[in-house]
Symmetry: C2
Subunit: 106 residues, 2 copies
Amino acid sequence: MECFHDVDRASAFADAKMKKNNLFTTDRMFCDVYCFEPGQEQSPHSHDGSDKIYYVVEGAGTIRIGSEERVVEAGGVVLAPAGEPHGVVNHGSNRLRLLVFMAPLP
Amino acid sequence: MECFHDVDRASAFADAKMKKNNLFTTDRMFCDVYCFEPGQEQSPHSHDGSDKIYYVVEGAGTIRIGSEERVVEAGGVVLAPAGEPHGVVNHGSNRLRLLVFMAPLP
């Protein structure tokens, strides 16, 4: 597996919906770049037994964890603990990119 | 546990050596911010059974994975697969900050 990547080079967007770009997948985790055009979202969902982390690389997103919702800007990092509903909306007028880690593999 | 953090606010440096600042620890993973003054390093080491990911938030670091060593700048993301020796040196004259994920807990 290639161990060195660049988030900018791995970032691709799609008109239809938020696009997930995989950087790494191992037996234990994955790491993706999620790219949201304005108005795109990841609907709230949850994973029993797997934790997810979102890091905002570019833009700002409205991130919900359980019953708490916050606008998170670049540099923000958010934990969605196992079993907790979580979702993201790009409510703004700029592109949003998130670095995403999840372990163990769902 | 607090689920919302900010990497800038969590970043602290130390004169003596590279400083690890924990953001999240769960039963399955941890997420830290590692802060390196110029000249500071994380010596090569390995973890059987746990994968680590480094994301360069600020600055540039010389990152070794196994026998491969590269200078990685902000936006670079690097996988240290389980069992593979890995280390980081801040060879430059600016501060280096890495967002670090590891799973499962070593």
